[in-house]
């Protein structure tokens, strides 16, 4: 089977006809595979998918996300993870197994408006996704600037094997934590570096689908091109 050239599609447009597998953001209609999103087609090895250029974040197991505490019950915190589903962080994750709702006060650890870097433990759609903040690089976020980009651009921001984000970090001296949900925290001791990093991230979001984006970012950061 031929690997087709990438094409721009909108919902309803036919990508291929015939014996292909319909994968992300596509659906079979008769013997045609049509796109269900605005995006770029990706046809190879007999399967068809569309890389979307818009759309929200849908929780997946093991995703790293940045969340905002919105409320809590006696046993857990409710976390806004920039998705149609709220995340749930159980008190035991922070207080440990001997958590007792009588003696342990949830708001002493995390209160409304606090930001956390968390991992999704269980994204079962019949209830709110479970989160954890016990783990390396997880936990409450005390400093930095929070930026919001479209979740469909996160993959581009990370780049192949992290190449794009590493380039931005080294070019600006900033530390950048990327949530799969489109929320990003940028910290830098130097305010110019902070600004550089933020501008680079905004540029990736704006031009995610442009071919020579890597060069444009490299130039913007003042890095020597090879």
């Amino acid at each position: 089977m031929n690997n087709e050239k990438k094409r721009h599609v909108i919902p309803g447009e036919t990508i291929v006809s015939g014996p292909y597998r319909a994968e992300q953001n596509t659906v079979m209609e008769g013997n045609k595979i049509i796109s269900t999103s605005i995006g770029l087609t990706d046809v190879h090895d007999g399967s068809v998918r569309v890389i979307p250029l818009t759309g929200g974040y849908y929780p997946k197991d093991d995703d790293l996300v940045i969340g905002k505490i919105t409320s809590h019950s006696a046993m857990s915190w409710e976390v806004n993870i920039n998705s149609c589903y709220s995340g749930m962080l159980p008190a035991t994750d922070v207080f440990g197994r001997d958590f007792s709702s009588h003696s342990d006060d949830l708001s002493s650890k995390l209160s409304k408006g606090d930001l956390i870097a968390a991992r999704i433990v269980n994204a079962d759609k019949t209830r709110d996704p479970l989160l954890t903040i016990s783990g390396r690089e997880l936990g409450k976020i005390d400093s930095g600037e929070l930026i919001n980009i479209s979740p469909s651009k996160v993959a581009r921001l990370i780049g192949k094997r992290g190449s794009m984000i590493q380039m931005i970090e080294s070019g600006s001296n900033a530390q950048i934590t990327i949530g799969q949900n489109g929320l990003i925290v940028v910290s830098c001791d130097d305010s110019d570096g902070l600004l550089k990093a933020i501008k680079a991230i905004e540029l990736v979001e704006e031009k995610a689908h442009v071919a020579n984006l890597t060069d444009q970012i490299s130039e913007m950061l003042g890095l020597k091109s090879d």
Binding site: I10, S37, I38, G55, G56, S86, T126, E206, K207
Partner: protein
Amino acid sequence: MIKMGGRDTDIVLLDENGIRCDGRKINETRKVSITAGVLKNANGSAYIEFGENKILVGVYGPRDVHPKHLSDTDTGILRCRYHMAPFSVGERKNPAPSRREIEISKVIKEALEPAVMLKQFPRTAVDVFMEVLQADGGTRCAALTGASVALADAGIPMRDLVAGCAAGKAADTVILDVNNEEDQAGQADLPIGYMPNLEKITLLQLDGLLTPDEYKKCIEIGIDGCKQVYEIQKKALQDKYFSKGDDD
């Protein structure tokens, strides 16, 4: 005073050269322009001008449903609100929703449901809000057209877009895209919503009287109008998503 079938009117709905009261031919739609992504807060949005109609559409979702009992554990739900601003019509309209707006909201929702795919978002809702800022006949078709673009802009998975256009009858002649004067003084108004790739009609209503032959002609000419409108929808999305910066 010229009797044109329908109400008595001073306006010439169709002259001897086959030209309509606004200068169009019988199978010509009004000028349509659509811009996708015009609002900052909404997840998806579109602004459409269909002749003198001006409609702003915003989409939020999928998102939480409150109160919870309205949600569905098996699928996301679609909610639509068609609303006219008080200043959108000739005589100022009370801002409270009228029965007409409630009916149109339902009809548009049912026109979009076959297109949107919400099974992958149980317990959520996708909200479509259509605000008519200026009305000039055919607002429901224009609102439906804008809503499809706004939904795609929001990234809601869809099988197809839905394009809207009305056919009708004035001066005993089947015409395409009925404007306000033709609606008031004409003989029939048939709004249509159509999925162009799947070739299905998802919105259909009739106000007026048509012979079986006229009915067939109206549907034919109306689908053709919808296809023309679809090209404008496509262009709106392509302009926003596929034309920035250097491209492949």
